[in-house]
C-alpha cells in the first residue's frame, strides 16, 4: 500500500475531522508505515493551525463603541417593534450613522420595516432660536448641551422637564451639533442645535403632543432628512463626546 491511495483532499478531510470512519482507519494504518504520507498530512494539520493562530485572536479586539451601540440600538428597535405591534415606532433615534454601505443602498432602510401611525399635532420651526415659551430654560438647556453625555435623562430645575440628549455629531462645516429631546408635561420637542460662537443655535425643532415613549414617525423623517441635508457626520461615540464636552 502506498501514499497514492490517498489524495490531498482525503488527507485534508482527515486533518479537519471530516473523513468517514472506514477511510480514517485505513489511513491511520497506512500512516504508521509511510513517512512521506505523514508529511503530506502534516501540511494540512499545520496549515489549519497556522491560519487559526494568525486570525483567531482578532476576536479579542474590542468591537468599536460606535458599531456596538448602533447594533444594540437596531436590536432594541427590532424587539420593541415586534412586541409593541406594528403601528408604533420606538423613541430611540433611528437615523443611522453615515455608512457607505447604506448610502449605496446595500440594505433596505430600517424605517421601511416599521410602519408608524400616531396621531398628534406636529409643528415645527426651522432656523429659529429657542421657543420664547421655553426661554427661561434655554440657559439650562445650553448648559446641559455643553456638558451632558448622550443617552441620559437630565432633569431641568424643578419644572418637571427633562432633557435627553440623543446624539452628538458634526455638520458639514465641522460645527458641533446635538440632537435632543425636551420632555415637558404635555408635549415633547425634538431639536437639533449646533454650536456657533459659543452659542447653541436651534436649527430645527419639532414639537408634538406628548405620547409617552413615542415620537411620530413624521418627525423622525423630518429629522432624518434634515440631518442628511446638513451632511451630518456619524454620531460620536461616548468616548469621542467626552473629549469635546465641557468637563
Amino acid at each position: 500500500m502506498t501514499e497514492h491511495d490517498f489524495d490531498d483532499e482525503t488527507l485534508m478531510a482527515f486533518a479537519d475531522g471530516e473523513l468517514d470512519e472506514a477511510t480514517s482507519v485505513r489511513l491511520e494504518a497506512a500512516l504508521a508505515a509511510d513517512e512521506a504520507l505523514a508529511e503530506r498530512l502534516a501540511v494540512f494539520f499545520e496549515s489549519r493551525q497556522l491560519v487559526a493562530d494568525a486570525l483567531k485572536p482578532l476576536i479579542d479586539e474590542p468591537v468599536p463603541e460606535a458599531l456596538l451601540q448602533s447594533v444594540r440600538r437596531m436590536a432594541e428597535e427590532a424587539k420593541d417593534g415586534a412586541s409593541a405591534g406594528s403601528n408604533v415606532v420606538p423613541l430611540r433615534p433611528k437615523h443611522r450613522p453615515v455608512n457607505r454601505w447604506t448610502e449605496h443602498r446595500w440594505v433596505l432602510p430600517l424605517a421601511a420595516s416599521i410602519v408608524a401611525v400616531i396621531t398628534g399635532v406636529v409643528g415645527f420651526t426651522v432656523g429659529r432660536n429657542l421657543d420664547p415659551a421655553t426661554m427661561d430654560s434655554s440657559a439650562q438647556i445650553a448648559a446641559v448641551l455643553d456638558r451632558e453625555a448622550s443617552g441620559r435623562d437630565v432633569a431641568l430645575g424643578t419644572s418637571g422637564e427633562t432633557l435627553h440628549v440623543i446624539a452628538t455629531f458634526r455638520d458639514k462645516n465641522g460645527s458641533l451639533c446635538r440632537e435632543y429631546e425636551l420632555k415637558q408635561p404635555s408635549k415633547s420637542t425634538l431639536s437639533i442645535a449646533c454650536r456657533q460662537d459659543q452659542t447653541w443655535v436651534t436649527q430645527l425643532a419639532l414639537t408634538s403632543a406628548r405620547a409617552v415613549g413615542y415620537v411620530p414617525a413624521s418627525s423622525q423623517e423630518m429629522i432624518d432628512s434634515y440631518l442628511s441635508s446638513i451632511e451630518a457626520g456619524a454620531p460620536m461615540s461616548l468616548e469621542e463626546e467626552r473629549g469635546i464636552l465641557v468637563p
Binding site: E18, V43, V51, A54
Partner: protein
C-alpha cells in the same frame, strides 16, 4: 429561544473577525458588519430556529461583500482597498519569533485569491464544517474541498515554512 436581534450583539466579535479577514480593512469591515446586522434584522424570519446562526450570519455578510465587490468592478477603480493592511497582528506589540511567523502567515493570506481565503477562514478559523461552508458560499461541497486543499498548499508555499518539521516556539518565553 433567543431571537435574532438578541444573538446579534453577542455575535459581533465573531462577525467582525470574519469581516476583517474578508475585506482586509477594519474600517470597511465595521461598515460591513453594520450593514449585515441591519439586513439580518430585516430578514430575521428567514432564519430557521435550530440551524446554525453563525453560518446564517456569515452568509449574509459575505453576500453583501460580494455585492460590494461587484459594484466596485463596474464603478471602476476604487481607493478603499488601498486601505488594506496587515490585519492579524495588533500594533504596538513586541515582535517575537512566533509573532514573525504569524506576520508571515497573515501576509501570505492576503496574497491568496479571495475565494481561497474565504474557505480557509470559514473552516480553519470559524470552524465551520465543509457542509456549512458550502452553504455559506453557495457552492458544492466538492468545490469547498478542492479550494481548501489548494489554499493550504499555496499557503505552505508562500510562507516557505517547512511543514512536517517540528517548529519550536521556545523563543517565545524569553522574558526574565
Amino acid at each position: 429561544m433567543q431571537t435574532v436581534p438578541d444573538r446579534l450583539v453577542a455575535f459581533l466579535p465573531n462577525l467582525r473577525r470574519f469581516a476583517i479577514s474578508l475585506c482586509r480593512s477594519r474600517e470597511l469591515a465595521d461598515d460591513l458588519v453594520q450593514a449585515a446586522c441591519e439586513r439580518a434584522i430585516l430578514a430575521a424570519d428567514s432564519f430557521i430556529p435550530g440551524s446554525r446562526f453563525d453560518a446564517w450570519m456569515f452568509r449574509i455578510l459575505r453576500n453583501l461583500w460580494i455585492d460590494h465587490l461587484r459594484r466596485q468592478k463596474t464603478a471602476g477603480p476604487h481607493d478603499e482597498l488601498e486601505e488594506a493592511r496587515d490585519v492579524s497582528v495588533p500594533s504596538g506589540e513586541a515582535a517575537s519569533l512566533a509573532r514573525m511567523d504569524l506576520r508571515e502567515v497573515s501576509s501570505a493570506l492576503q496574497k491568496l485569491p479571495d475565494e481561497q481565503r474565504e474557505v480557509l477562514v470559514l473552516v480553519c478559523v470559524e470552524e465551520l464544517s465543509y457542509r456549512d461552508t458550502a452553504e455559506v458560499l453557495s457552492i458544492p461541497i466538492g468545490t469547498v474541498m478542492s479550494r481548501l486543499a489548494r489554499a493550504r498548499k499555496n499557503l505552505a508555499e508562500l510562507t516557505g515554512i517547512s511543514f512536517g518539521e517540528k517548529r519550536s516556539f521556545d523563543t517565545k518565553g524569553g522574558v526574565a
